[in-house]
């Protein structure tokens, strides 16, 4: 049993709500409740079962002897007050009101002869639900009191002494992937050659002509003078290809005095030595 239950609601009541910083211990006896207060009271209940439990505890009744007449009267007062104040009343409260009214009317009816009087008690189901809800309410409170991480327990976050490299899990590759990759590469290579030859030939031919214009047959031009940085890598490659092509076709002549020496270019084929 928790503290809350041991303490009688009259001697040591649990504040229903706090209004403007003041604890509201009990619903005022005369039903006048400031609207804002009633709103807070309503919010402090977790539904009609919670409200009923509160009313039962407040009157120090035993759940098992649920005095339906009194409890229903009080419950209805609440519901009516809430309705009068046009508070948005949760449908569940109205359903409970109907349940209570039904139980009350069944109790008023003459009892038909029965073997099992207990089973016929129309209160039985409501009593069962109230008891069940009370257990849940207590359990929720106990879970809340349970030590928790970040409030009662702090988990340890350890550091590894040295920086560790996470173990890398390599992706799986199927042999089929390799075969297809090869096939695709070859397929593309065929297409690549086909397309590029035409393109590159054109630009290389063009560059060959320009280089021919740049170099003379009279004196040597340094090879590096044929490359311009602003053309980027692609331009240099084209120039280089053009030079190779020119050399191959013996249209220009390259000479180098020794290893790593500067290379010079001159117009004209290989000199007949």
């Amino acid at each position: 049993m928790s503290e809350f239950q041991d303490a009688g609601p009259v001697q040591q009541p649990l504040p229903l709500a706090f209004i403007h910083g003041q604890a509201l211990i009990e619903k005022p006896q005369d039903l006048y409740i400031p609207p804002e207060a009633l709103e807070v009271i309503l919010e402090s209940f977790e539904g009609p079962l919670d409200l009923l439990l509160y009313l039962i505890k407040k009157q120090k009744f035993d759940i098992t002897t649920l005095p339906v007449a009194q409890i229903t009267a009080q419950y209805m007062e609440y519901v009516e007050a809430m309705t009068a104040l046009k508070l948005e009343l949760a449908a569940e409260y109205l359903v409970m009101a109907a349940v209570l009214a039904e139980i009350k009317s069944r109790l008023l009816l003459p009892k038909p002869p029965s073997d099992n009087a207990e089973e016929d008690d129309p209160r039985a189901e409501l009593i069962r639900r109230l008891k069940e809800y009370e257990v849940v309410k207590d359990a929720a409170r106990e879970i809340d009191a349970q030590p928790r991480i970040g409030r009662d327990i702090y988990a340890v976050r350890g550091e590894v002494g040295q920086p560790v490299q996470p173990v890398k899990i390599d992706p799986d590759v199927a042999l089929d992937d390799i075969v297809h990759a090869f096939r695709n590469a070859m397929k593309r290579a065929a297409a690549f050659e086909h397309h590029t030859i035409e393109k590159e030939v054109l630009s290389t031919r063009e560059r060959m002509s320009r280089i021919m214009e740049q170099v003379s047959d009279e004196h040597y031009t340094p090879l590096d003078a044929l490359f311009t940085f602003d053309e980027g890598r692609a331009g240099c490659v084209v120039s280089f290809l053009a030079i190779l092509e020119l050399v191959k076709e013996q249209m220009i002549l390259c000479t180098q005095a020794g290893p790593y020496a500067r290379i010079y270019v001159k117009l004209g084929g290989y000199e007949e030595d």
Partner: protein, 209 residues
């Protein structure tokens, strides 16, 4: 399989539990840092027991929770340690705690069944928050119209509340009493009477690993 002596094994288990960011079970230890070593169950258990004892008088403790062993601060120091963090631990609403309690004690349970017991609607937000915290999860669907999701608690829930199993939950007996009463009660169509025993077993049920 490499050999490892007892002192080294103890150091390795200690360091592993220390640096791991989650509690680790014996089997998880075996799968990870102990994978390369020949270690008997008896050895591993005795090393862990020894570590638990070693830390008993200290400011931190080695404890067993649902998903394994972890180091945590001594309970009594919590109020003093809380100053290390600016934010205080979150508070949970009664609605959330009651929903969580029902899922914990009555799992697997549908939202409709929770609503029946509580007498009010359960907001989607509560289910969402509990799911995001990884405290509850859907373990199946009830074979009734609409096939509502069946919720159960997770090991993370037990870990968070420092519990080894659901059996350690407080007031478990009260729920047992209720459940027994219900089973005798033939007349009342209760929220629980439609519970069946062939539901998928939630992961977080007490285990003895």
């Amino acid at each position: 399989m490499k050999r490892i002596n007892r002192a080294q094994l103890k150091q390795l288990v200690e360091a592993t539990l220390f640096v791991a960011d989650k509690p680790m079970s014996k089997s998880r230890l075996r799968e990870t840092t102990l994978a390369a070593f020949a270690v008997s169950d008896k050895q591993l258990s005795s090393v862990i027991e020894e570590l638990i004892l070693d830390y008993q008088p200290r400011g931190i403790q080695l404890v067993e929770v649902a998903s394994g062993y972890r180091f945590q601060s001594l309970d009594s120091l919590a109020p003093l340690l809380s100053v290390l963090w600016q934010e205080s631990a979150p508070k949970y609403s009664r609605a959330m705690l009651e929903t969580l309690a029902l899922i914990a004690y009555r799992q697997p349970i549908t939202r409709g069944e929770i609503e029946q017991v509580r007498g009010v609607a359960v907001s989607s937000n509560i289910i969402k928050t509990l799911t995001e915290r990884e405290w509850i999860k859907t373990v199946g669907h009830k074979e009734v119209p609409g096939r509502p999701a069946l919720y159960a608690t997770t090991k993370a829930f037990l870990d968070y509340f420092s519990l080894k199993s659901l059996a350690e939950l407080p007031s478990a007996e009260q729920f047992d009493v209720l459940a027994n009463q219900d089973s005798d009660d033939t007349e009342v169509p209760s929220a629980m009477s439609d519970r069946t025993n062939d539901k998928p077993e939630p992961e977080s049920l007490p285990t003895n690993e």
